[in-house]
């Protein structure tokens, strides 16, 4: 055989062996000790790296969860109770089940209910619009309609409804990560308990103006009349600054408030037979 080929093979093989030895020694010398459970926990997580848990991605969540003394500060909204059960099993903690949540848009000032009083032609961003002025309708609390929440959602769960000009949450896709909550400059989106079979009741308005002012700006506004508070037998509704709020931990889903509301600001959704979904 040609000696050049033999020498080439020998030298390359020798070089390979030497370098392998170097890599082996370096890997031994500079080995980073990591709790193997971090890797296990990370693998059970959805891997969306959305930050909905409050940590900078799934690895940071796993790292922090392994070091924690209990899981009260850790909850993966994307994985939900199933994933958290697995994480608890790995780490030997007792699982605290949380009710699944969903993003809820608390504005129902649709194009027809809330007339436009001036035309906005600035940058198509709710944050920019909110910084410039009170908005293009008479309601300074309502949805600005530029879709910052839609852009913020990494799960494709939000879309703008061209008919109403308001964002719509796709409940099947929403994982309640809370990105849209942070993106809305008017703080209109709230994470609320999904409720049994998705049934829930909420006030779809954030207007704290006095009744006549609110009503003039938007026919769907909460006017702070207090009829829902009177109708509620479970003490779940509070009225503050001319605005009602339904506490989802107390609400028994009886829908008396939905029927009582004169403007249709109280919404009951996903009931088998919708009675009043203004």
């Amino acid at each position: 055989m040609n000696p050049i080929i033999i020498w080439t093979v020998v030298i390359l093989a020798g070089l390979g062996l030497v370098l392998a030895l170097v890599l082996f020694l370096v890997a031994r010398r500079f080995r980073v000790e990591e709790d193997p459970r971090i890797d296990l926990v990370e693998k059970t997580l959805p891997g969306a790296n959305c930050g909905g848990c409050g940590y900078a991605g799934c690895h940071a969540f796993a790292d922090s969860a392994v070091k924690a003394s209990d899981l009260s500060a850790h909850y993966c909204p994307v994985g939900g109770n199933d994933v958290m059960q697995k994480v608890s099993d790995i780490l030997g903690f007792k699982m605290e089940a949380k009710a699944p949540q969903v993003a809820v848009v608390r504005c129902n000032g649709s194009c027809t209910a809330r007339p436009v009083i001036n035309e906005y032609d600035g940058a198509a961003s709710c944050r920019v619009k909110a910084a410039l002025y009170a908005g293009d309708t008479a309601c300074p609390f309502g949805c600005l309609g530029c879709g910052d929440c839609v852009a913020a959602c990494e799960f494709g769960a939000l879309s703008m409804d061209p008919a109403t000009g308001l964002p719509v949450v796709d409940e099947a896709k929403c994982v309640a990560c809370g990105k849209c909550v942070a993106a809305c400059p008017k703080s209109l989106i709230e994470l609320r308990n999904k409720g049994p079979r998705g049934i829930r009741v909420f006030v779809a308005c954030r207007n704290t103006d006095k009744g006549p002012v609110a009503r003039k700006a938007c026919s769907n506004a909460c006017i702070g009349c207090g009829l829902c508070v009177k109708a509620c037998a479970h003490d779940a509704i509070t009225l503050e600054n001319n605005l009602a709020y339904v506490d989802f931990t107390k609400c028994k889903l009886c829908r008396k408030c939905v029927a009582a509301c004169p403007t249709g600001a109280v919404h009951g959704v996903n009931f088998p037979k919708e009675v009043n979904n203004g």
């Binding site: 009083i117 001036n118 032609d121 600035g122 940058a123 961003s125 944050r127 920019v128 910084a131 410039l132 002025y133 009170a134 908005g135 293009d136 300074p140």
Partner: protein
């Protein structure tokens, strides 16, 4: 004619000073005035009257709510009807004192005559009266004047610059007072010069106002003051920016994050100078200012320069001037470059109101935005030497550290980047957001450092 201007950036919009020939007219009082508590930069003023009180014109109705704040005086005599939130021109609710106007009876001690008083009182008297009369900078930022005229110990003013550039297109209020109240402005300049310890005083006027330059020169020759000079400036926007006019006049550059006093400069608007004159020599509080009603869809004979009282609703002024013209697509308060669109015509005038500007559809409609082609025109136009296209990208990427390193906080919001962008990208809208966020972070850091230092001091 000597021509000087600031070194970098700037744009040349058509000056459109359509109302330049209109003499100042006095607006009659409306039946109700709405006086805002946030007429100045800094903390809102605190009302010192209550509902049902009788007030006289020029009476103090609110006192400063902090160190950087100012007194507010009643613009008319009448009864306080309410102290309540009222919507400003952006539709946001701001506390207002609402007064039912019954007449125009002034408080005692105010000299309402036209006699020119040229003798200058002591420095302390000047500063006291400027503060007591609620004088704020009328060049746009409405910064309380007494704070600016009283530099922190250790800093000394070398030069007082009187800003008569009025570089914003359309606006003619400064131009009109330079023609009609020339001597008063010069006495005001001499008063501020004395307050600052007798420094050099330069009145910078853009060369597109030759009549104002001539009037100022001849009036100056007839007055007994020394150390005041008139300097014609080459026309370029934004010459009236504080840092820009310092560079144009003194050839000194104010550092990033620094105040003009760090290079020995104090800049005051000519309107402020007139307000200082009236406050010190006549004891007249700042309740009036000049406003231009103009625009490119308003015939010249319907354009006006008005002397208005604070608290007059804009709709009242517009009505008095002949109503909103046909074809007005946007109504702006302030100049077309930096002014704000008015979404609520029921809002009332404040100390710093400078115009009601009616712009046509064609001149205001934003063109369709397209992609950035890295032509660099925005960077060439930026008078602060920033790179607007980069700042916008950094903001979209959310890189706050890089934004601060690229000095987004130095943006003066002049709008040159947006004006020069061939792709019609709303650069300023994004940069303004980024600036707000970075300034907030800087302030939070400073507050945290202060708290830590105080904690250290307590422990040791």
């Amino acid at each position: 004619m000597a021509k000087t201007t600031f070194a970098i950036g700037g744009v040349h919009p058509d000056d459109s000073k359509l109302a330049r020939a209109c003499a100042i007219e006095v607006l009659p009082l409306p039946s109700v005035v709405y006086v805002s508590m946030a007429q100045h930069l800094g903390a809102p003023a605190k009302p010192v009257v209550s509902v049902g009180d009788k007030v006289l014109t020029g009476q103090v109705i609110a006192e400063p709510g902090g160190f950087i704040s100012a007194f507010v005086h009643s613009p008319a005599s009448g009864t306080v009807k309410a102290i309540a939130p009222f919507k400003d021109l952006a539709g946001r609710e701001v506390p207002h004192i609402i007064i039912d106007v019954e007449g125009d009876e002034w408080v005692e001690g105010v000299d309402l005559s036209d006699t020119l008083i040229t003798e200058l009182p002591d420095r302390e008297v000047i500063l006291d009266r400027v503060k007591a009369c609620g004088v704020v900078g009328l060049g746009g930022a409405t910064f309380p004047t007494h704070v600016k005229l009283n530099p922190a110990p250790g800093s000394k003013a070398d030069c007082l610059i009187l800003n008569g550039a009025e570089c914003e297109p359309y606006l003619t209020s400064d131009y009109r007072i330079m023609l009609e109240r020339t001597k008063e402005i010069l006495v005001g300049a001499a008063l501020m010069q004395k307050a600052l310890g007798g420094c050099r005083t330069v009145i910078g006027i853009e060369e597109n106002k030759p009549e104002a330059i001539a009037a100022m020169r001849s009036a100056l020759a007839s007055l007994p003051y020394s150390g005041i000079e008139i300097l014609p400036l080459k026309k370029k926007y934004p010459q009236g920016g504080e840092k820009q006019i310092i560079q144009a006049v003194m050839h000194r550059e104010v550092g990033s994050g620094a105040l003009p006093i760090s290079v020995g400069a104090v800049v005051q608007n000519v309107g402020t100078s007139l307000a200082v004159y009236e406050a010190v020599q006549k004891n007249k509080p700042l309740i009036t200012n000049i406003l231009t009603v103009t625009g490119n869809c308003l015939p010249v004979e319907k354009q006006h320069n008005y002397l208005f009282r604070i608290g007059m609703p804009l709709s009242y002024i517009a009505e008095y001037a002949g109503g909103i013209p046909k074809g007005a697509a946007k109504i702006v308060s302030g100049g077309p470059m930096m002014g704000r669109a008015i979404s609520n015509m029921e809002a009332a005038t404040v100390k710093g109101t400078s115009s009601i500007l009616y712009l046509s559809e064609e001149s205001t409609r934003r063109k369709l935005e397209s992609n950035c082609i890295r032509c660099g025109r925005c960077a060439e136009a930026c008078p602060m030497g920033l790179e607007p296209f980069l700042l916008r990208r950094l903001w979209k990427a959310g890189d706050m550290e890089a934004l601060e390193a690229n000095a987004v906080q130095d943006c003066i919001e002049c709008g040159c980047c947006l004006y020069s962008c061939p792709a019609c990208i709303p650069l300023l809208d994004h940069i303004r957001q980024a600036k707000g966020a970075v300034l907030g972070a800087i302030r939070a850091r400073a507050a945290a450092a202060k708290a830590a230092a105080e904690a250290n001091q307590k422990n040791s």
